[in-house]
Amino acid sequence: MEAKVLQKHLLELIRRTSAELPSDVVESVDRGWRREKKDSTGKYALKVIRDNIVMAKDKSQPLCQDTGTIICYADLPAWCDERTFRKAYEWAVVKATKVGYLRQNSVDSITGVNSGTNLGPGNPGYHFHPAQGKSLKVRMMLKGGGSENMSVQYALPHNGLGAGRDLEGVRRVLLDAVLQAQGKGCGPGILGVCIGGDRGTGYAAAKEELFRLLTDENEDPRLRKLEKRIMKEANGLEIGPMGFGGKTTILGAKIGHRNRVPASFFVTVAYMCWAFRRNGFVLSEGGRISRWLYDS
């Protein structure tokens, strides 16, 4: 496959991710809108959000001006090595920034200077894994800064919250994370959660949970139960869309786990905003996309 073909597909992936929300998110926003009381401020916020979703897709423009941090996972088959992928990926990011699918979002942490291209130390981010089969699978997420500021990591036990090292303790800190975020992370939010791991792997795994469909069910019955309970209870806090009050505080809670060392018990929450932008594709060696991972 020519490098140009991969470049073109990656650019289209960025465009889609930035301008079009997957249908699981759109449907969930719609459900929230229907649930909110007539004439309430929460319903009003969701109405504007729904209009915005439609308009961004029609105009092929970013849903939100903060196009966030670019997170990318690629499962590489034998025909695509890391260098080839990285070159095409960086080309696509620079191009997407030029044409406005992405905002200039990469700032030197020492000097404060914006690179203007979205390239720089650590940008754009990527994770590579070897592919199982012959296809190249790419997953991408754009995570906004306002929501990332609401992400949080707890070390259990947590005395103030009465949270011990068990699923009840996890429940308590998750509800606290939602309470602390209020509307500041542009809710309704989505929680990606990792129980365990270390401080670094905890955040990575929590974010990866966000690739799950809002409609899926956790394979682990204990976590399935916890996810359902968190959904119900977090929405019962009545923080509502944008923190205006109402029933739609979160759209999902996706909980995974990693083993930990005996001394540590971290619970990590990646807080995502309603502009829950993620997509991906599966690409054959012939350069054809066999499927998009999320329909929009």
Partner: protein, 188 residues
């Protein structure tokens, strides 16, 4: 309800927390650099009497010799908490648009001077950009850069919610208190 320029004290005092308002008239963008500049004694480039200041770092491009707004969502307001109230009093700024709400100091000044805080819908860049019907000027762009500059936006039915009013009401305080009470019920 519709709020049309001029933004007089009387009109602003009539607003209450929870009101869904559509603003029509001129608003000025201003964020960190602008607030700091005024606070340090800089001269306002526009007349701020009875004005609305919008916490926004827009994406504006020139198309065919005209400024066109590509994205115009709100940015987090709380960073201006130290400056906002005193600037409202000093220059007659009547209202602020932003996201996330502001603190007790700004709330107190809203009461004192007859001001409100309007919450725009965070992230709704496209809807909000469409309600900016004209760009009538830009100031301090060389000094602060485009996103931090003071843009004069002519808006038409710009959708916001009053979350802090001139009677001491704050939706943010109310929702926080209620959600804390709900939280306690779940964990105690």
């Amino acid at each position: 309800m519709l709020l049309e320029a001029p933004f007089t004290e009387e009109k602003i005092r009539a607003l209450k927390v929870g009101d869904q308002v559509e603003i029509t008239g001129l608003v000025f963008t201003g964020r960190d650099a602008f607030h700091k500049y005024l606070h340090d004694g800089g001269k306002p480039p526009v007349d701020l009497k009875n004005s609305i200041v919008y916490h926004c770092g827009p994406v504006v491009v020139k198309e065919g010799g005209k400024w066109v707004v590509k994205a115009a969502g709100p940015t987090t307001s709380i960073r201006e908490e130290p400056y906002q109230g005193p600037l409202m009093e000093q220059y007659g700024i009547r209202a602020v648009i932003g996201k996330g709400g502001m603190g007790p100091k700004t709330l107190e000044y809203c009461r004192k001077v007859g001001g409100v805080y309007f919450h725009a819908i965070g992230g709704a860049a496209q809807v909000l950009a469409e309600r900016v019907v004209a760009v009538e000027g830009v100031h301090l762009a060389e000094k602060f850069g485009a996103p931090e500059a003071v843009w004069e936006f002519r808006v038409d039915r710009f959708p916001v919610v009053v979350t802090m009013d001139s009677h001491g009401g704050s939706l943010h305080e109310k929702v926080l208190a209620e959600s804390e009470a709900n939280f306690r019920k779940l964990v105690d």
